[in-house]
Subunit: 552 residues, 2 copies
């Protein structure tokens, strides 16, 4: 395979470790912190994790390495969607493992958690690992979405570990994968398998974040890549002065990605799902809010703009969730066949009208016809509406168009409204990691091995103080159970890591809220440009605006 010049150049990059890990393996010792308890539901969580609950937080510091000298055989798994920097987690883990003892072995389980269950692996060596240093993607061993959560799976996993003499598993994943890592750790401890389990916080969505995890890896690079593209589109809009661009960005459960991109690019509009939910906004209210910006800009002669729409936005609109629930009910059981048998859309529409409540029908009625049809015609194997398929960027531009037509008829608007649509997701999940993500990920992996070496299990590799230069970063470990609470999942109470939503009283949203009125009407676009790896520090070593504001 021909390598790009950038890939070749990035091989030369040496990721920066936290200062306390820079003195060589022999000079890393443990500093014990406080015993921990879960953020909520302490008794229930303690009961579920009798062997791993309540352990101490720890940090590493410079000092004589007192860990036990034994051969480590570690397995590593990449779980879920790609995030820039995953390769560096593996590289950091590999380097610490080999530096500690050249006889240590690293198994890479292929294609995600299923690789462990199917005993499908590759033993990693220098030649192979070196091809992936400071690169994007998860192609080093592949990833997958199999969930490791049942006792049966754990038993298989234990068997595979026993077969290879594996002493520890590192799971690189999001909130669900790390929840499962904690459960697996408990299983391994309860069954005296001798297998430790360590998690690493990954997700471009930014929703794996709490008082212990300042940010998940990949968020930095992905949002910078999206912001590069959004900035380019903004500059195009401001040059051509004839289009409104509706840009959907990834992030279904939370709007961190949209917010960070807005902070970087200062668009006219950015919707935040958490705010929509908190204010119980209707589709019509949202459309009206956007149309206000379009109309005010048009009055100033600016018939162009940029709006950022989070992928999951409609799921935050209360009336829309009710509509979806009613549709799912309306089509349950035999009704699906009855509905499908109706010959024309007109017949189907009458069926829908008869079946929905008046309130939901009012919401349904304002949707563009293609989205109305999509809600009924494209359903998942369980017969449910596939909300994720809804093209929310097109939905809102259509609603705004209708709103503006009403304003035009009323004589309150006299502009032009031409739209273009974009969706940014796959474009940023496998970018070359920024210097920040390259450093952070390498540190997470290196640190994960030190946690293994010191015998910890059920811990998350934790690197903090991230808004500061890397030599001031703090490396250590936190029991995963500390981040847990009980939540209802599929009809059962389960201990899970709480997903971090955008906090409406947090500094990043507050900054946005203070400025958006001006951004909506004026043209305050900022053009971040492409991620730079070699330039001046003020360009190359930036953290996200979100992190900078949170730590300000």
């Amino acid at each position: 395979m021909k390598l790009s010049p950038l890939q070749t150049a990035r091989y030369q990059y040496t990721p920066k470790l936290p200062g306390m890990l820079r003195n060589g393996i022999s000079e890393i010792c443990v500093k014990n912190g406080n015993a921990t308890e879960s953020v909520a539901d302490q008794e229930k969580i303690a009961a579920q994790f009798p062997n791993t609950y309540g352990k101490n937080e720890i940090t590493f510091q410079k000092g004589k390495n007192t860990s036990e000298a034994k051969k480590q055989v570690v397995g590593v798994i990449l779980s879920g969607g790609q995030a820039p920097g995953g390769h560096n987690v593996v590289c950091g883990l590999y380097d610490a493992l080999k530096a500690t003892n050249p006889d240590n072995v690293l198994y890479g389980f292929k294609g995600g958690p299923s690789g462990l269950l199917e005993d499908d692996y590759r033993i990693l060596d220098d030649d192979y690992v070196n091809q992936f240093r400071n690169t994007g993607g998860f192609d080093i061993i592949g990833s997958g979405r199999t969930k490791l959560e049942t006792e049966e799976q754990f038993a298989v996993a234990a068997e595979v570990c026993k077969k290879h003499g594996i002493t520890a598993i590192v799971i690189i994943g999001g909130d669900d994968s790390n929840t499962n890592a904690a459960v697996l750790a408990e299983y391994m401890a309860a069954h005296n398998t001798g297998v430790q389990v360590i998690g690493c916080p990954k997700t471009i969505d930014g929703d794996l974040k709490n008082e212990d995890i300042e940010c998940s890896f990949g968020f930095d690079t992905a949002t910078k890549t999206y912001s590069e593209i959004i900035g380019n589109i903004e500059r195009d809009a401001n040059s051509a002065k004839k289009y409104w661009h509706f840009i959907k960005v990834m992030g279904r459960s939370a709007s961190h990605v949209a917010l960070e991109c807005a902070l970087q690019t200062q668009p006219n509009i950015c919707l935040i799902g958490e705010e929509v939910a908190a204010k119980k906004m209707s589709l019509a209210q949202i459309a009206d809010y956007i149309a206000d910006s379009v109309a005010e800009r048009a009055a100033k002669g600016m018939n162009f703009g940029v709006a950022i729409i989070p992928e999951g936005i409609v799921e935050f609109v209360p009336e829309f969730s009710v509509l979806i629930a009613e549709i799912n009910e309306l089509l349950a059981g035999e009704n699906t066949a009855k509905f499908n048998a109706l010959p024309t859309w007109k017949d189907k529409y009458a069926f829908i009208e008869a079946g929905l409540t008046k309130e939901s029908m009012a919401v349904f009625a304002i949707l563009p016809e293609n989205i109305q049809q999509q809600l009924f015609l494209e359903r998942d194997p369980h017969g449910n509406v596939q909300v994720s398929l809804i093209e929310s960027e097109k939905l809102f531009s259509a609603l705004v168009k209708d709103n503006l037509a009403a304003r035009k008829a009323a004589g309150t608007y006299n502009g032009k409204f031409s739209t273009l649509h974009h969706f940014l997701g796959y474009e940023g999940r496998c970018a070359f990691p920024s210097n920040f993500d390259a450093d952070y990920c390498y540190s997470l992996g290196y640190n994960a091995f030190m946690l293994i070496q010191y015998g910890y299990t059920g811990y998350l590799s934790k690197v903090s103080n991230l808004s500061k230069p890397a030599d001031e970063w703090v490396a250590g470990g936190m029991p995963i159970t500390k981040m847990m609470n009980m939540e209802r999942r599929n009809g059962q109470d389960k201990p899970v890591i709480r997903k971090a939503l955008v906090e409406l009283d947090g500094k990043p949203f507050q900054y946005f809220a203070e400025h958006r009125a001006e951004w909506a009407v004026e043209t305050c676009f900022t053009y971040p440009g492409a991620i730079q790896y070699f330039g001046p520090a003020e360009v190359c070593d930036l953290t996200t605006r979100t992190l900078a504001l949170e730590k300000a």
Copy 2:
């Protein structure tokens, strides 16, 4: 407006001039070259340009500046779609103009050629120009698509120039705009207005290229930006191993952008419109070609891939062009109303079936229904099919899906085929110009002023030897008429600059053709990453693969 760190850093960049222009204005003299003639239709073109035809090619060299000392008042126009580097053309022009005589004045006509006709301008000064150095976009003065082509417009332009004492106009545009620049130059000369006209070659499409113009500006940055994104998507495909990505890239008239992106990223498939036309390929043949790759990769366990589709591809498919022509005819005159009155799509389909030839009906029949409907339901004000609205990336993925279903039924294919679609256009037209485009554009603008200062008109600012380091670049001017031939446009023979198509016997296509069989079946993806401005020369100072291969 808050500036991004990259924008602030890019202000510090000093664009590189060709060696011969580096000694200061007082040390630039003219070296006369040969008299020129047009590439074809010499007599007809000479007859149309009695005052500007047949002039000498010139280059600049180091030597005493012998130009006449007079105050220059220059107007500059950005014409057509955005291309990275346009700002630097203006900056180079401004710097040479002011260095020659601080009393010289630069008018920026706003919003494209219409700014000249409407006398809408901004006088450029240091404070304003400095905000745009080495940045993307055309927002310094805006751009527009008004064509300057009628005698009436020329008369207005002459009037505006007279009013402000303008001595020269610089038109920054594509092949049409430069054709019009030549016609305007001839008008200005024939009417003794004393106004010179100079063109600069702009277009991300890469189709303004000939033996004199090695490349148009913006092609380098735009294709690098698209290739960054394509590479990221490739890496995602190769990590998740479950999707085929169909990526449409801008470029309606020629497939240079698609080809350059393919050379940079080595996708499994890249369609080239010029080849499709030359081989008279049918839609079914193209789908079969792509399906071969999908099936062969599936047989190796790789149910994923990347296909690049040029925006204008269907217009190169002969049978499709015939179909479009038949549809336009079928709906001419009163038939549109008759067709629209038919109540259901079934009725309309019967009407279509009765009206098309058997051959075109066969083509129509294999199209996905949404594209069938689009062809009939969305027409331009003249009643014509809007070919540019056809989502060719979705068309081909749908055709491939049908093809694979037939293979599956025949037992020759047993894979999975899940698709995702992307369109890359606005994402790259306003990126920060690469070092190459920043240097090339600044040189084009600087050089344009030297042509003005030495009294030339109807010339294109020409900078060549571009595959070499900038100090070896050659700056000069070429009469625009030299690039012209006669072509039929709107029922009339007109002198125009010939549009450059991808040459199937040229080195870039040949390189692609030699490698694509391997790329189709193996995974040979290359990941270019983001454009770098500050790093090692082998990363930052690359030209396009197209130019490198052409000059190899």
